[in-house]
Symmetry: C2
Subunit: 366 residues, 2 copies
């Protein structure tokens, strides 16, 4: 299937559909992807509709128990739609994947464990003609960071945050959508498996050899469409995450942002929800730490705070947003609930204070 | 050749022998390695002795022009002794490596470009029986960081610094030697190719997939001999190096140090000696940035400054050391020139202020 053809996905979430952490790949594609999702395989919720299980996603998709049932919806591709710790294929997923391969479906896999390196999958795909695509496999020819990223004409915004899985990708997608709605030429840059499935391109930076992470991030910001004015880079991890900070820092330094948007889940009190004994510090202090870290290299201010308030009532959420806005002194919003417009304005205003902005205006007039 | 057998190395530096940056692998093994080095191949300096070309290394090794001449010294192994940017084998090294393979010598290679993935090398080695060892190839089974490193009984010291190639490995080796000389049970932990060649074990953390860098560092500190009291971890890069900071941060968070030793080359004014337009900031400010970065996770103080003053006179060096010591308020020395004793005392004093120390004392009384 060509990169431009529209897929008809079956999303495989067996047991994880209602789990916002582990099914974030499936949820992201369902919420933001350009492709169709014709069915979801999850026996636990079979017979229900997506919106009954995950009310926050406004797509009507049937949930079925097996690949056999899903085939009735004429799918082209199977989306392996979970992101479990360690990145391995959950054992019960294996039979579904084999069924899909035997049915000739393309397998689109975002896990660390590659389907293209699994002898059984490869052999069965050879027989059926199914295509295997490991989204996390980075290109072979990533160069070391060169500094060329410092010269890109676009105003580059990077999502940073307090932890993994606080909503950085969604924040960048929502602000990109708001920028485009406001008439700006904006592009979302994907750095993780879900983002790549949504955007159709990108590099999983956490899968890149550590020496080359900054080089991978640089390549991504150099690769946006030439007429782009605002680049929105999907962030990864957190500078205080003991397991994944290497990825975060490599992305920060390699993408050479002009502007940061700080993302946080209001319910998150410790890194990895207690996986490590690391408390998330005061948000203003953490924003300052991001700025201090970049200051010796290429300074970039935190210009907005994006909060994930999904389990608060609308009134509670607004009160919380007000409180964080007062405390940090930065425009604060939940862009998934209330749209990306407010934070887009904050980014645009900050962009207009960078030296790049005048050149962009001149190019636009050109 | 077994891990315990003593090698008789030929070091290959063709053109780089006098270059402290690019020949740092060869220099490190010559200065600190437990193995013999029976000859150096470098046509530019052929006919001279090592100490005439690199006076700071107190080993007497002949320099020859070719592998053919080197074979007269009955070597067991060829050391590929350069570390060039990008990590590729310099083209003129190829013929020397082939000659060594044909002579049945083990090839010990620290470059990114693996000899075990070069079809010609592999075929010729198959014929001659030569062993090919890519020191930079990390193990296949590195786990994600688990937090287990927080529980190691040893007092862990990590070398940090202002840039790459300022002497972090040598500093840790000299302080380890001083600790052992003072009767402590100390182990050096190697994280780069030269260190691994010196120590006989370790992981090249910069070659590990970025998600797993912290896990690799954790595995290294968990892997020291059980009776070790002080672990000295070779540092990598700098938190202000735009290309390599991902490695630095992963190593910092994964090794979970109790104590930091800050390393700097007094002649270095910008990152990569001008490769990037990033000035090295005030050293005290940079020490503070290291501490601020670790503070939210596991705090570790900078307890000493190790300066590389190799091109200053002894009097100039002493004046500079005094000045930096007064400015930072930290014990400061050039451990390569003046020995590791002073900084070892600073580490030991800091170790005695950690909660681990009492447990170590009790275990020693055991």
């Amino acid at each position: 299937m060509s990169a431009q053809a529209r897929r008809r996905y079956v999303a495989l979430t067996d047991g994880y559909l209602a789990d916002v952490h582990h099914a974030k790949t499936a949820h992201g594609v369902l919420r933001y992807g350009r492709d169709d999702v014709v069915a979801i395989i999850d026996p636990e919720f079979a017979g229900r509709r997506l919106r009954d299980v995950v009310p926050s996603i406004d797509r009507d998709v049937p949930v079925v128990a097996s690949m056999r049932e899903a085939l009735a919806f004429s799918p082209t591709s199977l989306l392996v739609g979970v992101a479990v710790s360690g990145g391995e294929l959950p054992p019960k997923f294996r039979a579904h994947v084999l069924d899909a391969i035997d049915g000739g479906l393309e397998i689109v896999n975002g896990l660390h464990q590659f389907v293209t390196e699994d002898a059984e999958f490869v052999a069965r795909a050879k027989t059926s003609g199914a295509r295997l695509w490991d989204v996390r496999k980075p290109p072979d020819d990533i160069a070391l960071f060169s500094g060329e990223a410092y010269g890109v004409p676009q105003i580059v915004t990077l999502a940073v945050g307090s932890d993994c899985a606080v909503g950085k990708m969604s924040v960048m997608l929502e602000i990109t959508a708001a920028a485009i709605a406001a008439g700006a030429l904006a592009e979302f840059v994907a750095t993780g498996q879900t983002g790549i499935m949504i955007a159709g391109k990108g590099i999983c930076v956490d899968r890149v050899i550590s020496d080359f992470v900054s080089g991978a991030a640089e390549r991504l910001v150099l690769g946006v469409a030439a007429d782009t004015e605002y680049t929105f880079v999907e962030g990864q991890g957190s500078i205080i995450h003991p397991a994944f900070a290497a990825v975060t820092y490599g992305l920060m330094f390699g993408s050479a942002p002009d502007v940061l948007v700080f993302c946080h889940d209001v319910e998150r009190k410790t890194i990895g929800d207690g996986e490590f004994d690391v408390a998330i510090p005061d948000l203003k202090m953490l924003c300052n730490l991001y700025e201090s870290t970049l200051a010796p290299i290429k300074p970039a201010p935190c210009v907005a705070v994006a909060l994930n308030t999904r389990n608060l009532s609308a009134a509670q959420a607004q009160a919380h947003l007000q409180q964080v806005q007062a405390h940090t002194g930065l425009p604060t919003d939940d862009v998934v609930r209330f749209g990306g417009s407010k934070l887009w304005h904050a980014v645009r205003a900050a962009g207009e204070r960078t030296p790049k902005w005048l050149a962009l205006r001149q190019a636009a007039r050109g």
